[in-house]
């Protein structure tokens, strides 16, 4: 029912997934999207503002900036905030009182009060085995009382007989008396629809409430409602202190932001939702489930991975093509390093691979960490355009300049150049032989093997018997698993297909 909002947020998070490490500006950009999505979903502006502010407070902070996968964390924060607004516990009707329990239905015209009264009567009779009486106080809309009588007959519950020329207050009194005398457990009072700015009609509603002392005052509201949800909810709440909300037409394709708005504005739980034309189409509102539907939280990780996959897949394919043609240059190398970072750096990747915990320690011991990737990135960024395309021009003085420019040493520059040359040679070899097969292997997703490249470039290779490159049979999952890449070959992008455990 909230699919559209969900789609919207998914779009937002796809964008996040493409950004890599989140900065404060990224959080703001993401929240701008969330704000638009919520507004397009008809969540009322004041509610949107509160929501965004609370999310921002939580998102912009050291936790997010330091975390390995900040995008996931933002998703979690948005989700939590949504759950908070929607409420966390199911809210049953307060009808376990000494009978009769009185339920007063109120709302705008056409929100679905009469239909809901009929549905509620059926529900209470069949599920809670209550003896229910319906009474219509709607003397305004033509045939409204007849409608309720028919619905009552269909639900096989009691209906207060109609009498002429009674005011709503008089009908209410008579109904309460009849319910008491005839031993009904629940009395449901349907009222006429009214605009909230009609003070006369709102006063009438207050009078009915004072006379009948209802245990539940339910605001029946249309899920298709726009920004007016706030005004409506506020006005009814101020006039008659509503105890709960029934949201109708939730089976429509509206984004249903009204649910969020009314819940937040009144602080009253959404107790029931109308989900169809049939008389049994009235369900309990389950906020946790609904929040789950909005954000699909159980799938958050997969969601982000999927988003990341799209762009990395494209980039991987582009790089694979260039490699097959022997065109791999420093720009491509740079792009690869960046993908590695995007995936959470070395630590992030290691964390995603099952059974690599030990190796993580070894890598740390050997001094390979994310700062190394950043230094390599800096080295390439300090090269001129020409140097990046034709590495052959890198003479001693150029290397010195690059080292100074990137804040590294000439040794480090040399190491990077050697690493690049090894890779490049390997690729040309492969490209000539089975370029197509390799491309397939690479774009099919697999280990972001820039790792291997790094290892190969390290003096002495990787510790623990991993000279240049990962073993070809790592338990990786993904299409066809990890392609057995030769040492020093940077396996390209593709998503980290092993699910995080």
């Amino acid at each position: 029912m909230f699919d559209n909002l969900k789609d919207k947020l998914q779009d937002v998070f796809s964008a996040l997934g493409k950004r890599g490490a989140l900065r404060e500006s990224d959080v703001d950009a993401a929240l701008r999207e969330v704000r638009l999505a919520l507004l397009d979903a008809d969540v009322a502006l004041p509610v949107v503002k509160t929501f965004i502010a609370s999310v921002r407070d939580k998102a912009v902070g050291s936790d997010v900036l330091k975390s390995v996968r900040p995008d996931q964390q933002v998703i979690k924060i948005v989700n939590d905030a949504l759950v908070e607004v929607l409420g966390t516990d199911p809210a049953p009707l307060n009808i376990q009182v000494s009978p009769p329990a009185v339920i007063l239905m109120a709302g705008l015209q056409g929100s679905g009060k009469t239909t809901t009264a009929g549905k509620l009567a059926l529900r209470l009779r069949t599920r809670e085995r209550k003896k229910v009486m319906l009474a219509s106080l709607d003397v305004t809309r033509p045939a409204a009382r007849e409608q309720l009588r028919i619905l009552g007959e269909q639900a096989e519950v009691g209906v207060l007989p109609e009498a002429d020329r009674e005011s709503p207050a008089q009908i209410a009194k008579r109904a309460l008396q009849a319910a008491k005398l005839q031993g009904f457990d629940v009395l449901i009072l349907d009222t006429a629809g009214r605009v909230t700015i009609d003070e006369g009609l709102m006063a009438e509603l207050r009078e009915v409430k004072a006379l009948t002392n209802p245990h539940e005052v339910l605001l029946v509201a249309d899920a298709l409602t726009g920004q007016d949800a706030v005004t409506t909810a506020t006005a009814f709440n101020e006039a008659v202190d509503i105890t709960g909300i029934v949201l109708t037409r939730l089976d429509g394709d509206s984004r249903g932001g009204a649910a969020l708005s009314m819940r937040e504005i009144t602080g009253c739980p959404i107790k029931l939702v109308g989900v169809g034309e049939k008389q049994d189409a009235l369900e309990e509102f389950d906020p946790a489930r609904l929040a789950g539907r909005i954000l699909d939280m159980g799938d958050v990780v997969a969601l982000v991975e999927k988003a990341a996959e799209t762009i990395e897949q494209e980039e991987a394919e582009r790089l694979a093509k260039r490699m097959a043609k022997g065109q791999f240059d420093m720009n491509d190398f740079l792009s690869q390093l960046r993908q590695l970072q995007k995936m959470g750096g070395l630590g992030g990747i290691m964390g995603m691979l099952p059974g690599l915990g030990k190796m993580q320690k070894q890598i740390a011991a050997a001094g390979i960490d994310d700062s190394m990737i950043r230094r390599q990135e800096a080295i390439i960024l300090s090269m001129t355009k020409k140097e990046r395309v034709s590495v052959g021009v890198l003479n001693a003085s150029r290397r010195k300049r690059i080292a100074a420019g990137s804040g590294t040493s000439v040794q480090e520059v040399n190491r990077l150049v050697k690493q690049y040359q090894d890779m490049s040679r390997m690729m040309k070899k492969l490209g000539g032989k089975s370029g197509a097969a390799m491309m397939k292997a690479l774009s099919g997703g697999g280990l972001p093997g820039g790792l291997g490249g790094l290892g190969g470039g390290m003096p002495g290779g990787m510790p623990g018997g991993m000279p240049g490159g990962m073993p070809g049979n790592m338990p990786m999952g993904g299409k066809g698993g990890l392609p057995g890449l030769p040492g020093g070959l940077p396996g390209l992008g593709g998503k980290p297909s092993g699910k995080k455990k």
């Binding site: 397009d40 045939a143 028919i150 249309d222 920004q227 007016d228 409506t232 509206s254």
Partner: protein
Amino acid sequence: MSWLKKLTSGLSKTSAKVTSSLSSLLGRTSIDASSLEEVEDALILADLGTAVASRLAEKVRRHKFDGEVTAAALADALSDGITEILEPVAIPLQVESGNSPHVVLLVGVNGSGKTTTAGKLAQQWRQQGKSVMLAAGDTFRAAAIEQLKVWGERTGTEVIAGDQGGDAAALAYQALEAARATGTEVLIIDTAGRLQNRSELMDELAKIVRVVRKLDETAPHDSVIVLDGTVGQNALSQVSAFREVADVSGLIVTKLDGSAKGGIVIALAEQFGLPVHAVGVGEGADDLQPFEARDFANALAGVDETSS
């Protein structure tokens, strides 16, 4: 104008009237980016939607104010922008005498006010001395037929009705035959409310149109979607879906006597350009009024309040 009064009084009672939230903009000599956002927010609160709100706000920003920005000037600028969008679509319903009868089909989601609007339309045309017939095509909702019959009595209009649960298309066909036989000038067909994503219900509506066309290829001459004034952005989806199924040719917006501002009309005008025929401003038989672009724009922007 009574509807303007009702609309304006409705709007004036709401805390979120468009220009009332813009007091911080007053007294400036131009509108900068931050205050532009305020204009935009105020429009969003009126259900214009984010895209239209941002375009209109931008228009206001580019507006050349003479000297300081006053509340009146600001409201005027907004009203001008809105009127420009709405003027082309403010087209009243017209009964064409060439049709015998002129068939008006009312469609929309549940609770939008179709049956009440049918009654009000009957009243309006009866007062113009036309012969009118009502067809109780809502055979689903309990007592919908009785409700329309009450309107028939109030307005002195014959109501063609079948049984609840009957075939609405057959009823419509029967009503058109009856209207033809009696030489009635206008036939108003009420239909059951249906959510636009319920394909089986939309198919039923398509069948009503198909069957009516068997008797008169040009019917329905007006296929009017009735929209609840409190509706939000979902109205776009409603109009789009009903247009596809029932060739919607125009719209009527109801319940504008409440706190809802009905700003979605502006978004609808931009997206579909369909005529806005009338607005409902109360439950009385005479509470259906032609839609006037400038009046609506003035009421929404708060022109009256600020200038007088």
